[in-house]
């Protein structure tokens, strides 16, 4: 972790998901896919082309789609239902609650276009409460990949896991973080480095930003580590505790609202197991707006620079400029 991280754009997590799901379809005839007229965007279209007899486009009906997926699961199938993260979680929440979570059915829900990195389409399409909603559901596993490699691995993990899963994917090409040697599991995490001065706990696109920020902090003489908490639920509490005990200072970075996402989960674990100073980098308590992905990410603070400022704040007690 001495060299500056290479910022090489790889696959979008949604592309890795679609390709991996199609491959899984060849391996397991019980895997089926559903979509609500967004298959070209969620990339379930890759599965649809490979396995047309096991693909169901329900039309623009998220609630019905989740119910249908639950019914399929009771017959021994492994359904993957995809839509935009916000439509899936917001429009079909009651169906996830009673038809999926209550009986703990083996349904996989994949929400793409999460976060604000979709850019131009604006707030109505941005999944920014999805993690809070998904984590609230009893028995749900919630997974957030950082790049194409981890998205592919976590798609496979989702298929192999028995029980409901919410997998979050994004539209934007993701900076490559992992190679094929890294392994991923439900309840796991990846500790890139444990720092003595502070540790950044991140998920999704913010992992690459965290690695960049940790490098910049080290240039300033701070020993800062990064932990990718890709499994929000169940979360790797031991990894959070290790990060807190190594440094006593935590920065959480996520492409999600302030309430109910990774920051809330980490704060709860810290309070229960190892109280530590914590600063959050997230979207706050507001919706974002249209713009190029780069401009929107910059404007709403989803950057390594913002994480670096948070590192300085948590270490020195500096004030970070107000997000608004």
């Amino acid at each position: 972790m001495r060299d500056r991280p290479a910022r090489v754009l790889g696959k979008a997590t949604r592309d890795a998901y679609g390709e991996t799901l199609a491959a899984l379809g060849h391996e397991n005839p019980r895997i089926v896919a559903l979509d609500a007229d967004l298959s070209k965007s969620t990339k379930s279209v890759v599965f649809a082309k490979a396995h047309p007899d096991r693909f169901f486009n329900l039309g623009i009906q998220e609630a019905n789609m989740v119910g249908v997926a639950a019914g399929m699961a009771t017959t021994g199938l492994i359904p993957f239902a995809s839509s935009f993260a916000t439509f899936l979680m917001s429009k079909a929440f009651d169906q996830m609650r009673m038809a999926v979570a209550n009986p703990r059915l083996n349904v996989k829900l994949v929400g793409s276009h999460a976060g604000i990195s979709i850019g131009e389409d604006g707030a109505s399409q941005m999944g920014v409460e999805d993690l809070a909603l998904a984590c609230a559901l009893p028995g749900f596993t919630v997974l957030v990949p950082a790049d194409g490699v981890s998205a592919s691995a976590l798609t496979r993990v989702s298929a192999e896991h028995q029980g409901p899963v919410f997998l979050r994917t994004g539209r934007a090409k993701a900076i490559e973080v992992y190679d094929e040697r890294t392994s991923f599991r439900v309840g796991g995490s990846v500790t890139h480095h444990l720092g003595r001065d502070a540790n950044i706990l991140a998920c999704g696109l913010m992992v690459a930003e965290a690695l960049e920020a940790a490098f910049l902090a080290r240039e300033e003489g701070f020993d800062v580590g990064v932990v990718d908490l890709y499994s929000l639920k169940p979360v790797d509490a031991a990894a959070i505790e290790a990060a807190a005990s190594a440094s006593g200072r935590i920065v959480v970075a996520e492409e999600h609202l302030h309430h109910g996402g990774l920051g809330s989960i980490v704060a709860q674990v810290l309070a229960e197991r190892h109280p530590a100073r914590m600063v959050s980098v997230d979207l706050g308590d507001r919706y974002a707006e249209s713009g190029t992905p780069e401009a929107v990410l910059e404007a709403y603070g989803m950057t390594s620079a913002k994480i670096l400022a948070a590192i300085r704040q948590v270490i020195r007690g500096d004030l970070v400029p107000d997000q608004a």
């Binding site: 119910g67 639950a70 009651d94 009986p103």
Partner: protein
């Protein structure tokens, strides 16, 4: 029950009063529950479980079984009483309805009680689940049918019509919906809360084969289920015209008994009217 053990309409008719009495006893015992919509659904449930469905109470997880979903989950006292009648569990268990630790939840929950196929109670969800089961059977090559019982008030929910559109599009001909048209929902008569008629025209327009009949006529119910089985290429709906609170004079057509339990005295009168005096 296989087709060979299916009961006649006359035999089903003879069992109906005790099923109604059991449902009312459960609700009175729990001091909560939904008598009106339970009583209206009894004949439909009896026809299905003892005259139509291919199922085996000794093997509730048999992959080839026909499925039934009580989408109007609040009518579960009637479902539980019929499941006990079929032998899914001992009848004594009925008296634990809604008590802490009982598998007989206030609304049905999948995984808690043998014979219950879905967690329902949040209205509007059952038809989607049934469609998913039917498609699952299709993908897996399982030869079975799926039946979903909806309330007429329940079909206020938009999700029902999402599922209705999809089922017709997907040519879900092994899916049969039954609407318990008892004309009353919690706050009053359906015609006052949200008009549903012309109901048959709506389902026809959505691409369903419609059977419109008296939901307390067991001969008519058995005939409709048999005819529905013969329909190819599209799903079927049975509009079962029923009386809310059927069988108990002071509950019939009375919105007050949608979700209020009978008092001990009312239960006694109800049992007398049903001709069921002892457990």
């Amino acid at each position: 029950m296989t087709a060979s053990t299916a009961l006649s309409a006359a035999d089903l008719r003879s069992r109906a009063p005790r099923i109604r009495a059991d449902a009312l006893r459960m609700i009175a015992g729990a001091r909560s529950g939904h008598p009106g919509g339970s009583l209206s659904a009894v004949d439909i449930l009896l026809a299905l479980y003892m005259g139509v469905l291919r199922h085996d109470p000794a093997r509730p997880d048999w992959e080839g079984r026909d499925r039934f979903i009580l989408s109007k989950g609040h009518a579960c006292p009637a479902l539980y009483a019929v499941l006990a009648e079929c032998g899914y569990f001992p009848r004594e268990l009925l008296w634990t309805f809604r008590s802490l630790g009982s598998p007989l939840q206030g609304h049905p929950e999948l995984g808690k009680l043998a014979g219950v196929e879905a967690s329902t109670g949040s209205l509007g969800q059952g038809l989607s689940l049934g469609l998913g089961m039917m498609l699952g059977h299709r993908v897996r090559g399982i030869d079975a049918r799926v039946h979903v019982l909806l309330g007429d008030g329940e079909i206020n929910e938009g999700q029902v019509w999402e599922a209705a559109l999809s089922a017709a599009h997907l040519r879900a001909d092994r899916l049969t919906a039954i609407v318990d048209v008892n004309r009353i929902q919690l706050d009053g008569f359906t015609s006052d809360i949200l008009e549903l008629e012309p109901l048959a025209d709506k389902w026809k327009a959505f691409g369903w084969e419609v059977f419109d009949l008296d939901g307390h006529n067991l001969d008519a119910l058995l005939r409709a289920f048999a005819d529905a089985r013969g329909v190819e290429g599209r799903p079927q709906v049975i509009l079962a015209r029923t009386t809310k609170g059927k069988g108990v004079s002071f509950m019939e057509d009375n919105p007050e008994f949608h979700g209020a339990p009978p008092t001990a005295e009312e239960l006694e009168r109800a049992l007398q009217e049903l001709g069921v005096t002892h457990a």
